[in-house]
Subunit: 376 residues, 2 copies
């Protein structure tokens, strides 16, 4: 079974790509940033907030949703989009990253990962076949193959092992997916995930193996896991070169605005990261001038908005002083406000990136953005 | 100095009153329910949510705001309305209820209450003069006299003591307030608080004493503190009879929809209570059919909205199953959704009450509401 083509490229600007991905729940524009809604909610936001912020696709997690509320309930409730009232595209990660991170709670073999729930210690098994079945039960638009993401640093043997297993499992995922997809009217898209740690030749091998399976999109996994920014850039540049031009490319778990700009320059189309949302809840937002630790005492009596150049509804109405007070009081209203702002900021960044690529001025957009933005 | 008249009565329906209160930040319609924003935020909601829900006045707390962020910052930030971006009326409670509740942390005398901060143990003194000064620094529209709310049950000596002290302090509050008010352009309104526990004659005495000071509005304090519903109703009926008809009447800390309807029938104009917001965060919302414990397992796979008769944005998009899942995951998105719904529900109830009084059909509105609403 050949996968339908889901990616349309509008134009390129250097290696940066302006395009569109089509899913059962509609199209989203690329490059795109997906806010993370692990358990079916972007923490602190409701669907209309995400719509206001301009998000066109969000991310969920198979591991979390499988454990709670469970696929039975999500299925009964009409699938994830109906359950969480997000009627636009959703991508769900396979949960591989999570079950491999469980450490003492998991046992890895060629068959898959046996793990215990972090909720109640109950035993579960994720095999590549079972994961794709679960993903189909959850019913997101884009689903991810079950891969093995090795920790950083990984010695060559471990990295080779991860690549081999990722390929073996990708084949099972693909077969399972094709069969399940043939039974449904609206077709999901299964993406392969390129592994290979920091070894160029392993990255090449992993990409070639996955491409042989003809996925409709490819993710770059195993980056932003602790390596240096230079290592990440090298590995990304090398990996993207191996990927087909007519399919979307997704860099998992990235990242900071400066990393997104870097990755876009190599031709990445999709991103996800908890940074804008998780950090917002702990007193840290992103602004056009750089990260702002709004919880710091220096903001206690500062009447300026989080970001003087932002037109979001938070920056229009609320001061740093108020946000800092909210943080001090552990008020969830403050978490909501900060999360809204940072989510809006990331979506505006992507809109700016897309407009710049369309007009063949991505490089100047990037340097202009970075000239004002001070990373920490 | 005579207080400006702030209350306009439009009509009465039995003892129920339809009116309007004018403040520096605009008018609000009565009977009114004030969502509680103790520390300057209604937990989980932002100002635009409150506006959408139809709230016209919210409540803050002097004790909490005095300790954090402190009056200096609120003053510097342009007063409470500017600080928390709520550009409609706000009432702040004096904090008396809080400092008296601190128990081991407080020392009560005729001069006031010496207490230790629950944040850092630092020592503070609330005298009636100081409280009104703080209230003026915070700059809400309606401020409350510093009273002594005795616990329930209170023996007669303790209740008498509370009434005496409440009157002594009310005089000091009034003098301080009149002086501070004369120095400002937009005038705040100081309300007196009737005490007297469950003793009819003490309630009468307290009301007479406060009325002699000519406050622009009167609150009924010391109810809903543990007495039975019948006792509360008796005491309320008796107390309201003592109050002037041309001033707003505020029943503090009430309450459940059925209690609000009861109190409106005796002529109460203003209410506040943490129930719709606090309970929402712990898995309990109010609906037209009665309270719904949405955290309960029976809702796990229920696709119906929290309230089938509600047109709020939460009930239009989200199911009980989703809310129950959010609760199970301690997701703040769920707290936001539940708080929004219950806040909307209370405001709709007040709108219904106001429309019914306007059309002289309050009794049938009340019995119609209660025929569908099952209190727990």
């Amino acid at each position: 079974m050949t996968n339908d083509k889901i990616y349309t490229n509008f134009n390129t600007d250097g290696a940066a790509r302006r395009g569109e991905v089509t899913t059962p729940h509609g199209k989203f524009q690329t490059p795109a940033f997906m806010p993370v809604g692990t358990s079916g909610a972007v923490k602190g936001l409701i669907s209309s907030d995400l719509e206001e912020c301009g998000a066109e696709i969000i991310l969920g997690n198979t591991y979390h949703l499988y454990l709670r509320p469970g696929t039975e309930i999500i299925k009964n409730q009409g699938g994830l989009a109906s359950f969480n009232s997000w009627n636009k595209p959703t991508l769900i990660d396979s949960g591989g990253f999570q079950v491999f991170s469980l450490q003492d709670l998991s046992k890895i073999s060629d068959e898959g990962v046996e793990f215990r729930s972090h909720h109640d210690g109950s035993k579960h098994m994720f095999s590549p076949k079972r994961v794709v079945e679960i993903e189909h039960e959850i019913g997101a638009d884009i689903i991810m193959a079950f891969d093995q993401c090795v920790p950083f640093p990984a010695d060559r043997t471990l990295a080779e092992d991860g690549v081999r297993r990722t390929f073996d499992w990708a084949k099972i995922c693909k077969t399972t997916h094709d069969e399940l997809n043939s039974q449904r009217d609206s077709k999901l898209s299964l993406f392969g995930i390129v592994q290979g740690s920091t070894y160029n030749d392993l990255r090449t091998l992993s990409a070639e193996q996955l491409i042989s399976l003809d996925f409709p999109g490819y993710a770059v996994g195993g980056l932003a896991v602790g390596e240096s920014k230079a290592e990440m850039e090298d590995m990304l540049a090398h990996t993207v070169e191996q990927l087909p031009k007519d399919k979307p490319r997704y860099l998992m778990g990235v990242g900071y605005p400066e990393d997104i700009l870097m990755a876009v320059s190599y031709g990445i189309d999709m991103f996800d990261c908890v940074l804008p949302t998780r950090n917002a809840r702990t007193g840290y937002v992103f602004t056009s001038e750089g990260p702002l630790i709004y919880r710091n005492a220096e903001n206690a009596d500062d009447s300026s908005p989080l970001d003087p150049n932002c037109d979001c509804k938070v920056c229009q109405r609320y001061s740093r002083a108020y946000l800092r007070h909210m943080y001090n009081q552990s008020e969830i209203t403050g978490m909501v406000l900060a999360t809204y702002h940072s989510t809006y900021f990331f979506q505006k960044l992507m809109q700016g990136i897309r407009a710049a690529i369309s007009e063949n001025r991505f490089d100047s957009f990037r340097s202009d953005f970075l000239s004002k933005y001070q990373p920490r």
